[in-house]
């Protein structure tokens, strides 16, 4: 049995669905951020796999993935900083208790 592109795309789809489930059901804002990391990784697997199978020898997908990793790191840093600031101010990290701007 030989690996095809479908294997990698199905794996990425499953990982994406797991991340969506976590982002929908976690109360803890840190848990939501971790689920977002899973979703980013699913997308990265897709990009690298398509780059490897469709354009062998040329690697635009890997370059995209490097930029996604950099932006995801920045997003993670800012998200965690905001969570810490909210925790200092309101003593909670639960997303369903952050309702200050809810009408």
């Amino acid at each position: 049995m030989i690996l095809t592109l479908t294997h990698f795309l199905v794996l990425a789809a499953i990982l994406f669905a797991i991340g969506v489930f976590g982002a929908l059901t976690r109360r803890n804002a840190i848990g939501i951020l971790m689920s977002l990391e899973l979703i980013f990784n699913a997308v990265n697997i897709n990009l690298v796999a398509v780059s490897r199978f469709v354009t062998p020898g040329d690697i635009p997908g890997q370059i995209f993935t490097i930029f996604i990793i950099a932006v995801a790191a920045a997003e993670s840093v800012l998200g965690l900083a905001i969570i810490l600031a909210i925790y200092k101010k309101r003593a909670t990290v639960n997303a369903d208790e952050m309702n200050l701007m809810k009408w």
Binding site: T25, I30, I66
Partner: protein, 169 residues
């Protein structure tokens, strides 16, 4: 053949660790399972002959993002104890939506067809040199933009966190 075995090993690691990440009762364990899942993704990158990306994945995700997450979990420890429920009331809709998402993507993939191509005989040698050349020649503008973005995120995080309770410096 060995590639197929490794693929399934890493895939099982990713899926099991991912499910434990989103369902674990303890948010700290959840972060550790996240590190395992990200390590599995690094293994998948090696199988795809993206060696530089595998190293970046381990360094940036496991070395920086997961460690940062664990720090924040420890700083907010008092409210993430055993008795605090970690999931909201949307578990059943969440299961339905995520299963339907996966089914939609996979069915679209299988119905479309044409994705059953086999990788070429590229060995991935010189992968890091190729990436370095591309980043500093063809993609030098986005590279610089990302460095400015990272600097802005760094300064922003310091400013947001360094305020104390009264909102003063």
């Amino acid at each position: 053949m060995i590639e197929t075995i490794l693929f399934y090993a890493f895939a099982i690691l990713i899926v099991v660790a991912g499910i434990l990440t989103v369902t674990s009762k303890n948010i700290f364990h959840s972060a550790l399972y996240l590190a395992a899942a990200l390590f599995g993704v690094a293994g998948i990158y090696v199988l795809l002959q993206a060696f530089f990306l595998a190293a970046v994945q381990v360094l940036v995700y496991i070395g920086a993002v997961v460690v940062l997450t664990i720090f924040v979990i420890n700083l907010t420890k008092g409210i993430t104890g055993k008795n605090v429920p970690l999931v909201n009331k949307q578990v059943l809709p969440g299961i339905i939506v995520s299963l339907m998402t996966a089914a939609l993507i996979i069915l679209a993939l299988l119905k479309t067809g044409g994705f059953d191509m086999i990788a070429g005989s590229d060995t991935g040698a010189g992968n890091t040199a190729l990436i370095g050349n591309l980043l500093l020649k063809d993609y030098v503008v986005p590279f610089e933009v990302v460095s400015v973005l990272l600097l802005a995120a760094l300064i922003g995080a310091i400013v947001i966190v360094s305020r104390d309770k009264e909102g003063e410096k």
